[in-house]
């Protein structure tokens, strides 16, 4: 009897995996077809209107993206890009960061649970700069990107996006380090244990004082877990899952933002 249950179980999971694979394949086909059509149209359009190609194809997109951002009921201040996939595509992440910038999001964090992006920080930064040029064209100089390293405070400027690359060390380990710091202060009699509360711990964990908690995390990949992403900071974060960051389209990104805009936060009330 147990064998029969096991067989049914295996069959069930096989079917679920097939369903997932089929969905991914359909998505891939639709994107590639849709993308090819869009690119063909984008190339033909300026010619048809009598403009020269290169400079002007970038402009309509950027204008549309800014308009999309303004049209949303609410825009997250800080978006986390959580990559829960085995392979990382730097160009696709760079696209996402640039879209965030164009739409008007002020802070972007990039995370994977093995710290790959952190180790390859400069490669990611280069890719983002490259995509910024390619996607925003001549207008890219209006947008400035600031890459945040530990300890620096971001400077709030108009049309600026602050990008930070995170790893699991920024999660529980950071909390443990803050705890050690407080305990050391107690050891040296600079503090008492009664002083320690949520506010004290929060100020230690907010090393870059102006960076708000993530309002929205876009999770890419099939794993339904936060995988160690900033446990302290995600208490009110909305989580929206996307199947993959590979070949992610602007439309997928925008529909996630629209979903975020429609959610209601009661904060306990």
């Amino acid at each position: 009897m147990a064998l029969l249950y096991e067989l049914v179980w295996r069959l069930l999971h096989c079917l679920l995996q097939l369903q997932r694979a089929a969905a991914a394949w359909i998505r891939g086909r639709v994107w590639r077809r849709g993308g090819r059509l869009c690119r063909r149209a984008a190339l033909r359009l300026p010619g048809a209107l009598g403009f020269s190609t290169q400079k002007k194809t970038a402009k309509p997109r950027r204008v549309r993206w800014v308009a999309d951002g303004k049209a949303l009921e609410k825009l997250p201040l800080h978006v986390g890009l959580l990559v829960a996939e085995e392979e990382q595509q730097y160009t696709d992440i760079a696209n996402l960061v640039v879209w965030c910038m164009a739409v008007g999001i002020s802070y972007v964090s990039v995370y994977d649970n093995e710290g790959v992006f952190r180790r390859n920080n400069s490669r990611l930064m280069e890719e983002i700069m490259k995509q910024q040029q390619e996607l925003l064209g001549s207008e890219s100089c209006k947008y400035s990107l600031e890459f945040l390293n530990n300890g620096t405070d971001p400077h709030a400027l108009l049309c600026q996006t602050v990008v930070k690359v995170l790893s699991p060390d920024d999660g529980k380990l950071r909390i443990v380090q803050a705890a050690q710091q407080l305990c050391k202060a107690v050891e040296k009699k600079e503090r008492t244990s009664k002083d320690i509360d949520v506010t004290v711990l929060d100020s230690l964990l907010r090393e870059s004082k102006n960076v708000p908690d993530p309002d929205l995390v876009l999770k890419f990949g099939p794993v339904d877990s936060t995988l160690g992403f900033l446990p302290w900071h995600i208490r009110l974060t909305e989580f929206i899952s996307l199947p993959s960051h590979k070949d992610v389209s602007y439309e997928d990104f925008l529909s996630a933002l629209r979903r975020y805009a429609s959610c209601e936060q009661r904060v306990g009330k």
Binding site: A2, Y5, E6, V8, W9, R10, L12, H13, L16, Q17, A84, N113, E114, P168, G171, K172, L173, I175, V176, A178, A179, Q180, L182, C183, K184, V186, E187, R191, T192, S193, K194, I196, D197, V198, V200, L201, D202, P222, V223, D224, S225, T226, L227, G228, F229, P231, W232, I234, R235, L236, T237, E238, F239, I240, C263, Q265, V267, G268, K269
Partner: protein
């Protein structure tokens, strides 16, 4: 209404349960039981009725978990943020809690039969005193049971829990039980309200909201998180099975991620021990180079003495917690 709804699964439910149990099953499931008020609105009844039905659903869900072999359940019953609600609603929730905890004391036999251990996690000092006493009675009377565990988070937020854990470690340092260098992820785990439980394997939030709302943020860092759109009072056995299926699909990837994290923890601990030992040897050696054998022995002995300190501290912490409840129950308890 009883805390654990009596009843068995139907034939179809039993077959489904048996199929699911052929795969990996979560041992500890956490629930954010969201949607009571929206349910009440939908059914055109009072909010209080929504909360009451929510409790009934909890009783039913506990029964399903037992049937599925899930022996530990943690629920988010009342957040510290919920104190912001109207006085009327908060009062109603406190009354409901008092009624349910009192009812629990009538069900001693039933709870003993199922071996249910009830724990209440949160800053209980924020609650009305009579409720604190009812809770203390429920916790103390089921303390010795060990077949299944129900953890009720009441007057709880994760940030308060983590800050409190840090405070406890600082207290340990003040008392001379531990050193600041003993602070580690493992030690912080021991200082959380949930220290007697393993981390949840599966976290389920109902009503369609896709956030954690300050619930078990530390403990669920590597748990399978499932968001379901059903309102809590409408939760069904099939919804639970759906969540478990998702847990099974994620099982391999999450186990792998947990392993990576555990390895990282071990490396951190070793590095920390190394640097403490290096400092010690430097003091003793007065600048003379230390041979590797001596360093290795020193490392082992340091780790052993650190473990001893930590165990003594954890014992003292447990005693402090037990005293809190015993004090509430003593006839001479000062208001």
């Amino acid at each position: 209404m009883s805390w654990i709804r009596e009843g068995e699964l139907s034939l179809l439910e039993r077959l489904t349960a048996n199929v699911l149990k052929a795969g990996p099953m979560p041992k500890h499931v956490a629930f954010i039981m969201d949607g009571n008020r929206r349910y009440a609105q939908k059914r055109h009844v009072e909010r209080q009725e929504g909360h009451t039905q929510g409790f009934d659903k909890l009783a039913e869900t506990l029964r399903w978990c037992l049937n599925l072999g899930i022996h530990e359940v943690t629920v988010y019953a009342f957040s510290i943020e919920n104190f912001k609600r109207s006085k009327e609603e908060v009062g109603g929730l406190m009354e409901l809690a008092k009624e349910k905890f009192l009812r629990l004391l009538d069900e001693q036999e039933n709870l003993e039969k199922h071996g249910v251990c009830i724990r209440v996690l949160g800053d209980l000092t924020l609650l009305p005193e009579d409720l604190q006493r009812h809770i203390a009675k429920a916790v103390v009377s089921t303390r010795a049971h060990n077949k299944c565990f129900l953890n009720v988070c009441f007057a709880y937020t994760s940030r308060h829990e983590i800050a409190n854990a840090v405070k406890e470690m600082a207290w340990g340092v003040e008392q001379g039980l531990i050193k600041s260098s003993d602070v580690s992820e493992a030690l912080l785990n021991e200082c959380l309200y949930t220290s007697s439980s393993p981390n949840p394997d599966l976290l389920i939030r109902t009503s369609g909201e896709v956030r954690l709302s300050d619930f078990l943020l530390w403990q669920t860092s590597h748990s399978c998180i499932v968001f379901q759109s059903i309102l809590w009072p409408e939760y069904s056995f099939w919804n639970l099975c759906e969540a478990i299926l998702q847990y099974q699909q994620n099982h391999h990837a999450i186990q792998k991620a947990r392993e990576v994290h555990r390895e990282g923890q071990a490396v951190q601990q070793l590095e920390s021990d190394h640097s403490c030992v290096a400092e010690l040897l430097q003091h003793r050696g007065n600048g003379k180079p230390v041979d590797p054998q001596c360093r290795q022995t020193a490392l082992q002995s340091y780790a052993a003495s650190r473990e001893e300190r930590v165990q003594r501290f954890i014992g003292a912490l447990q005693q402090k917690r037990d005293t809190f409840f015993d004090h509430l129950l003593s006839p001479t308890a000062v208001a």
